[in-house]
Amino acid sequence: MLKISEFSKTYAGGKKAVDHLNLEVHSGEILGFIGHNGAGKTTTLRAVAGILDFTEGEITIDGHSIQKEPVEAKREMAFLPDNPDIYEFLTGIKYLNFLGDLYEIPAKVREERIKTYADAFEITGVLGSAIGGYSHGMKQKLSLVSAFMRKPKLLILDEPFVGLDPQASFLLKGFLREMCETGGAVFFSTHVLEVAEKLCDRVAIIKQGKLIKVDTTASIVGDESLEQVFLELEKEDVPHA
């Protein structure tokens, strides 16, 4: 579903955020992306989402290159950043309808999907109010509803569990699993290693812009916890390309 080949990103000033990254996310799987602050997770996710421009490497979503066929590639996915900055002057329902228009979802279909997910995240009642009045958690729930409403083949989430209440976190995990069971794929970053350990089929660990480990969660964890493995890997030197 997602194929990242030899992706590198160097920011102005010379800092290499990601260095020759190769990674695949298959249909039906949840891949957790972990690494410490500044390791290159957000840079990778934003490049995959078509938000960050890059010159080295290739990223394809369901066979469409994010650089050569951005519209087709973006149509297959939904991305949510770590901070749910959305149009505060719109009401929740207008925001959802706006995205429904951009993704060309038929009105009837979007109505049904909004009902399903907004009811589940318990935000239907506030959809008529301006987003400016929402709490951080409510904005995050609205963003999640907007993502699930699109029924994407690939869902890219940057730190989706931060700021969510336990009930919403539980729901989200359920929806992610459900999405994968119907052939979708999820690629998300997190610092909550317990969640990654329990939820992910595979885990990818990035350090100083280089992918240092990618395997099934069971293989990586073995008899230890993901936290122990992660901390041990963090101590090791990054292999040079």
């Binding site: 078509g50 938000i51 002057f89 719109l90 207008k94 309808n97 706006f98 909004i114 109010s129 009045g133």
Partner: protein, 523 residues
Amino acid sequence: MRKLGILLKINFQAMLRSFSVGKKRSAGWIGALALMAFLALYLSGVYSFMLADLLSSIGNLQLLIPMMTILATIVSVIFTIFAASGLVFGSKDSNLLLPLPVSAFTVMLSKVLALYLENLVFSGLWMIPATVAYLFYGGGSAFLIFPIIISIIFVPLLSSLFALLGGWLIAFLSAHSRHRALMGNLISGILLAVVLIGSMRVNHILQALLLNANQVEKTLHTGLFLFGWLMDGLQGNFLSLLWLVLFCFLPFLLISWALSSHYQKLLSKMQSHVLRNDYHLQKLQSNSQFAALFKKECGRYFGTTIYLFNTGIGVLIMIGFSIYALVAGQSLLDFVQQIGEKILVPILALGICAIISMTNTTCVSISLEGNTFWVLKGSPVPTKIIFSAKAALNLIICWVGTIVSVPLLGIAFSLPVLSTISLLLVGLAMGIFVAQFGLMANLKFPKMNGENDTIIVKQSASAFCGIFGGMLLTALLAGAFYLLSSHLEIEQFLFLASAFLFLLALAIHRWLLTRGAEIFKTL
């Protein structure tokens, strides 16, 4: 005092940063300052020498400096009244500043003083040509520099105070209204009307007073007493200068202190929103991608007072003037006969083009996406449609202004049909150019991390470039007509100018679809 100094420094740095152009930070603010200096010097130079010539001929040159100071105050208030609402009461950094061990008065004063600094720079630049004209026409010795410097330093406190009070009124009434944006727009509109009518009245008073020296002296010592003290100060009365300083400084300090007593409460109120929990899902309507983006642009435009008024003020004035022209009828026709009917159409064309070039929403519309830019960039929408929606809003505002105003002006001034059509055409063509040029300016000088909307709309490099670029083109067209006027009728020239503007817009449009789209990807 030290804390105030630190906060002032931060506000000052933020102000300079707002002009920055990528890594060329200094180039941005030096360029902006140079442009501001040029405009202030040019406008003041024209007014100063014109007034000095008139006043010296009737033996009243001593009125020049007070009159130019009054004009500087009016212009400063018009420029900063909307900025005050955003910079002092709408800044996003209040969550950071208010928990600090610094009094609300210090926080507020640091922001008001940043506003004062803007007025101070403008006032200083404005008074240079006035002083030169005063000396040139034999108004006095170099000694008068001292009272003028005193007035340059202290009178901007007065304009900052008026701007602060206006900004406070907008913020206070908006914060206490359920329809915040609507209330903000309404109050801003009323304030704008008051300031414009007030300045027109002052203009009338000044014109009338020019013919009656005794009346001038009397008014400057009664209604406009502050400026009377300045005039006395220029003639060596130090006590009057002291009064001037006290009457500028003390009200500024006292009113700032009084407003700061509920500054925190007002900011809290502004940040709180009404959240209803009784919404029931209704039937939704689908739109095309373009329609959805256009509606979003409209929501942003009409929901942001500073954006609406800073870019829409020209069109509002143009429509207002054309209605006034229709009502005033004969008196305006008499005036036209005085100035000469031949220059009426060129003056109207110049006015329409200048106003349309000021009506540039696209030069900041990408910057205003700010933190929400990811929504657009991550959506499966071709860049062309995003640009089109942004340009369409600009185009509609300009076109509505032109289509409403030009026929009214045609009727009011009994213009021939051909003249009316040529004015209409040049207004529409200027609208097309402005919408495309603004996008280009914003792509070239984006500011995606603006501290607040006011800084992006009023102080960013793209706003300067977008608005003054259009005005420069208007000036060039006026110059071209001046050179060609012996060979071409104004109507013929306006048809040619319209075609030129249209072709220029087309060239920019092509640039936007190629290089512009590439730049958009990298933002």
